[in-house]
């Protein structure tokens, strides 16, 4: 008889979700769905608010990556003010985004995924967390926590607070970095770089330890999308969109993010609050694409920082050119931390970050604006329409996790098909299914702009949809 397996809640992710796995009459996996069960309605309640408030409001979409929303929001607002912001403001915003990438990636790797990777997918579930990691490998746990702290300290040094800093403003930023803080941050940089280099060493050993996971965790061809700078250099704040295929060929390049609706569609499924964006020329669901660290390393020509570029060459040798397995998200994430730290070092050495010319003032000069930046999880779009006075008329937020939705679903199905053998499903297999989702570092509160607890559930159903079993764990496991 066919069955449906439910994993509810999915743990160690940012948001609230569950997974349904459908078994056919022979007990093999027929299909699997990744449901996001949250709804928040930011796009609706922002209507009528003044443009200048949008950054502060949309930052509340997420407590992990408020900076990403702040930046996409003020970039959309810059368009509406029709200003070119001061060079110092660009550098300060870049510094902020790099700090955000460091802290969020560190959280994803060290706090959320390292317990699986370093302690083992089949290890004791009660110890498979950051505390278990801290007792078995204190150096890695401590380094990871301090690395995340470093990212947060930069955000605080710039914005006055670690979470929801209301420091980025339409037209620029609200203040420079102080010389004292800059010196402090420069002093913290070498430790952060050595932490990530050590983690990269561990990561390479893990690839040898987990060949089966590498092959089965979301390993399939898709398109990859992200921002690139001049000459295709890795980019996180500005530039144009590039789309490549699974062999690394450029499918589209130089795409203006402001025209995202021309080439990106958003499909809606009845079983999830998370929309499923796709690349329009290929249609739905063939236009499946991935964003985030994996995509950004696939689409870029180089990282443009020496240590990270060396790592990138090795990465490309190991993954065979373009990476198609979502397992490599972890590896890509660490390389992105490294390049971000190197770039932070460069920016801290730049006298412009202390400049007092940091904000352009202007009124409402255009009625529509799109802001696009790279959030840690992938490309983020904020699209606003305002009236003549600058009051918001319409909002569309296209979130990184949403863009990975189709790929996350395929990943869940692939892992389930590969690992589930018959009706008795070991805990370690359920954990692998969750880990497949964790590789994307999804942020579900962001992707649905929704409110919720963190957890995920796995459900097993038969072919008639009858619920046969449920696995549920709380958010701390």
């Amino acid at each position: 008889m066919s069955r449906r397996i439910i994993i509810d809640p999915v743990t160690r992710i940012e948001g609230h979700a569950k997974i349904s796995i459908f078994l056919d009459d022979s007990g093999s996996v027929a299909d699997a769905w990744f449901h996001v069960a949250e709804y928040r309605g930011f796009e609706k309640f922002c209507e009528g608010r003044p443009l200048a408030e949008m950054a502060g409001i949309t930052a509340r979409v997420c407590g992990i990556c408020p900076v990403s929303h702040l930046l996409a929001s003020v970039k959309a607002a810059d368009r509406i003010l029709a200003v070119s912001i001061p060079p110092a403001a660009v550098k300060l915003r870049r510094l902020l985004n790099l700090a955000q990438i460091v802290q969020s990636h560190a959280l994803s790797f060290f706090h959320l995924s390292a317990p699986d990777l370093l302690l083992g997918f089949d290890s004791e579930p009660t110890k498979r967390n950051i505390f278990g990691l801290a007792s078995s490998d204190p150096e890695t746990a401590r380094g990871g926590i301090r690395l995340r702290q470093f990212g947060q300290e930069i955000i605080e040094a710039l914005g006055g607070q670690k979470i929801h800093p209301a420091w980025v403003a339409p037209g620029g930023v609200r203040g420079p970095l102080s010389a004292e803080r800059r010196t402090y941050l420069q002093g913290r940089l070498p430790e952060a770089i050595s932490t990530v280099q050590r983690a990269l060493g561990l990561m390479k050993q893990l690839l040898d330890r987990y060949p089966e996971e590498t092959q089965s965790f979301g390993n399939f061809p898709t398109l990859f999308l992200g921002l690139v700078g001049p000459e295709g250099v890795w980019e996180h704040y500005d530039g144009f969109l590039r789309i490549t295929d699974s062999t690394g060929n450029i499918v589209a390049d130089g795409l203006d993010p402001a025209r995202y609706q021309d080439f990106l569609g958003e499909a809606v499924e009845t079983w999830s609050y998370l929309k499923s964006p796709y690349y329009k020329p290929l249609g739905y669901p063939d236009g499946i694409y991935r964003v985030g660290p994996l995509a950004r390393l696939n689409i870029c020509s180089r990282l443009d920082t020496p240590l990270a570029d060396r790592e990138l060459s090795e990465y490309r040798q190991r993954v065979g050119g373009a990476a198609t397995s979502s397992f490599y998200y972890h590896y890509a994430r660490l390389i992105e931390i490294l390049t971000s730290l190197e770039r932070i070092g460069r920016l801290l050495d730049d006298p412009d970050v202390l400049s007092l010319r940091y904000r352009a003032r202007a009124g409402i000069n255009q009625l529509e604006g799109v802001g696009c930046s790279e959030a840690p999880r992938g490309t983020l779009f904020h699209h606003y329409l305002v009236n003549e006075d600058g009051l918001i008329q319409k909002v569309n937020l296209l979130i990184a996790t949403g863009q990975n939705n189709l790929a996350m679903n395929r990943t869940v199905a692939q892992i389930a098909k590969h690992w589930i053998r018959g009706p008795d499903i070991p805990e370690g297999v359920l954990n692998r299914i969750e880990a497949g989702i964790r590789a994307f570092d999804p942020c579900l509160s962001c992707s649905t702009h929704a409110l919720g607890r963190m957890p995920l559930v796995i459900e097993v159903r038969d072919s008639r949809g009858t619920l046969l079993g449920t696995r549920r764990r709380d958010a701390t496991s």
Partner: protein, 238 residues
């Protein structure tokens, strides 16, 4: 000038005839919370936060509009008063949409400060969540009715200090709204001189400078004191 002697919180104090209980208390270092009152403007007793207990029966009187009297006995801090003041703040919070975290006046707001000071850690009443507009038609300033507490400081400062009376109040009860001139968009007001006094007088984020982002709208109430001193005493104290 005749002097009146009264007791505030068991302390014997004196105040000139015609002074209010609020003035007498402040002269003697006794703090009474206020919201609609602003030095230099007429008093209206609108917010009721300055309620005090007067006389043996503890009659409730607004300190800002009640004049001192000989042998008056006033209590400014009793459990009943604390409870009422807290309730007033809670009711103000429920009546409109006060979302501090994303408000332009976050950290610079008298309503927020009072809520903290009076220990309003939650609100017992249902929120009304009215659908209220934001008027940003003025070139320099905006008014967000969601954050307005109807203290009428803007109305009084515009009328009494600037002398143009652009602002007024329309409607009654929960339908009351601050309006500019004959209820037209602020940007179309034929009387507004764009002096910005109402921006400084407003205790919350209801009236703000255009383009203010979250927590950016700091109010400089010293400017009003400076203006008054300059006008009344011909002294320009900066």
């Amino acid at each position: 000038m005749a002097v009146r002697t009264l007791t505030i919180n068991e302390k014997l104090v004196s105040a000139p005839e015609g002074a209010t209980i609020l003035q007498a208390a402040r002269e003697n270092g006794i703090d009474i919370p206020t919201l609609c009152q602003l030095d230099g403007l007429s008093t209206v007793g609108a917010c009721r936060l300055c309620l005090v207990e007067v006389g043996p029966s503890g009659r409730l009187q607004a300190a800002c509009v009640t004049q001192v009297a000989e042998e008056m006995v006033v209590r400014t801090e009793t459990p009943k008063l604390r409870e009422y003041r807290k309730m007033i703040i809670e009711l103000l919070l429920t009546e409109r949409n006060h979302v501090c975290a994303v408000c332009v006046a976050n950290h610079h707001c008298e309503l927020q400060d009072l809520a903290v000071k009076l220990g309003v850690d939650h609100v017992r009443f249902e929120y009304l969540h009215p659908h209220l507009a934001v008027d940003v038609s003025h070139e320099l300033f905006g008014i967000d009715h969601n954050r307005c507490v109807l203290c009428t400081r803007c109305v009084r400062i515009c009328d009494e200090i600037e002398g143009v009376h652009t602002w007024d109040v329309s409607g009654r009860g929960t339908n009351a709204r601050i309006i500019s001139d004959l209820n037209q968009p602020w940007g179309e007001s034929p009387t507004c001189t764009s002096c910005g006094k109402c921006v400084q007088a407003c205790p919350t984020g209801a009236i703000f400078r255009q383009g203010s982002t979250v927590a950016e709208m700091e109010k400089d109430r010293q400017r009003l004191r400076f203006l008054l001193t300059a006008r009344e005493k011909r002294e320009w104290l900066v």
